[in-house]
Point group: C2
Chain length 317, copies 2
Amino acid sequence: MARNFADRLCAAVKLRRSHAVVGLDPVLPRLPEFIKREAAAQYGKTARGAAAAILAFNRLVIDAVADQVALVKPQSAFYELYGEHGVAAFWETVRYARSKGLLTIADAKRGDIGSTAEGYASAFFGHPSPLETWEEPDQWADSLTVNPYLGSDGLVPFVRRAEARGTGLFILVKTSNPSSGELQDQPLLSGETVAQQVAKLVDSLGSRLVGQAGYSAVGAVVGATYPEDLKRYRAEMPRAILLVPGYGAQGGTADDVVGAFNLDGLGAVINASRSIIYAYPGTDPSPQEAAAAIAGAVAAMNRDINGALQAAGKLAW
Amino acid sequence: MARNFADRLCAAVKLRRSHAVVGLDPVLPRLPEFIKREAAAQYGKTARGAAAAILAFNRLVIDAVADQVALVKPQSAFYELYGEHGVAAFWETVRYARSKGLLTIADAKRGDIGSTAEGYASAFFGHPSPLETWEEPDQWADSLTVNPYLGSDGLVPFVRRAEARGTGLFILVKTSNPSSGELQDQPLLSGETVAQQVAKLVDSLGSRLVGQAGYSAVGAVVGATYPEDLKRYRAEMPRAILLVPGYGAQGGTADDVVGAFNLDGLGAVINASRSIIYAYPGTDPSPQEAAAAIAGAVAAMNRDINGALQAAGKLAW
């Protein structure tokens, strides 16, 4: 069996002294002009050109942050937008990040019934047998976000594949958006909320995949925009690594996310996308200005979170 | 504004006298040998070759069913498996189906927070402005399945785009898999279940998109494997078109699905995948044998469902 994802994540976080995840959500209007000019010159103002621009931008971001963070998270929607060209850019981004020593979270929020979930598990974690593809393509991420609405038989195929491949999952529990509570915070007759029910499922599905560091390869998504929830779900899923979106542009602060961490200073990774990748002023920076601004923003994020953890007595190093 | 999706669907269903949706879920081990031989000869046993095989197979299926059904539903997982090549085959399949007069349901079960949901809406319904892609690619389906776990602000971007584009949605309410009830059937303090709460959301989101036939472009997924649920959700979302999976290989019968229809004989479309597309015996049929078996299976499905509707006094023609 491959090495447990949670162990790989904890080791990488300690090595970089960073709990940050850089979200790779490239949108064309906000990319540096020099990148768009080059892509348009080579491929025209086409979907292929747009995909070339976002790949070039991702490489710039990855180069600027690779020695400061442990994880990057490309969000699939921004690539699917460009069809086959965008999907090629998505996987090339994942491969490039891996080549720079980063762990990758494919943020695709997939979820479906059994046999289809198997298909998605193959699409994101690699193929289990040559029957499916003849040759296995180099197409796999270290982890994947998944949606729990279909219940455990939509999740188990992902868990099994994660176990076999040493990859990880982040199951949506409580999302960061304003209307997340409409369904997720509904109180059940049992006294729990819908999201608490999902948290129990995360804890039980993850029990077989706990690594040497004490964390499971089955993690959970809990938004930074609901700090009280973060503390509650931290307690309810003690072995889950929480992927926490909502820091930065969505309004979550370092103090808000401290509750996501256990006393060992581990157990959470904090995502920021727009506040990092568009840290340069305007849309016409030089390559050096763009890289420096991005590197500076991620350094500030690391200081911010590590400072809040230190103040709370939760620094892991 | 483009023509309402529900109106287009009702007209197409009446024209073909068919409530069937043919699910295009191609898996390599079950494709006819002649198709795999040709694809492998041209592209090798690679992901590209596999994608070429599933596209050739889909064309065969579409040609065999196009004069008998109104809709086809490619399931995204089986294409994403082959990365960029698979996604190219997905969109080529959608374009080919449209060129044959079929309506398309992109079964991708997407769902995310606001700005990302916008991205998915663009990916599946076309781009709203040249800012996003420079040129707009020919990449859109007539409708899309979406997941409601994130609440209304994860759904509204899809609804708005559906309104602008004349496309449709099928929001997951009660899925066909064995563990669908774990979350969806949980009773809330309000006395409703989680899925009933989602059904209310479907009904209210769809109220602005009701067409001349009396149905909304915002539909719902309710599985055939829970016939009692079908009747209940039919009543709770009177204007929603129900997309009903689970007929055929998953065990649902024509009698099970009758409850999904309104008294006007409309309001539901019934999906079958494996029982139709793999209707030929063995894996080495001739092209003619494969086409005849598939056409025969879909004709039998139409007779089966129309017969049950007639017996129930619900035939629309």
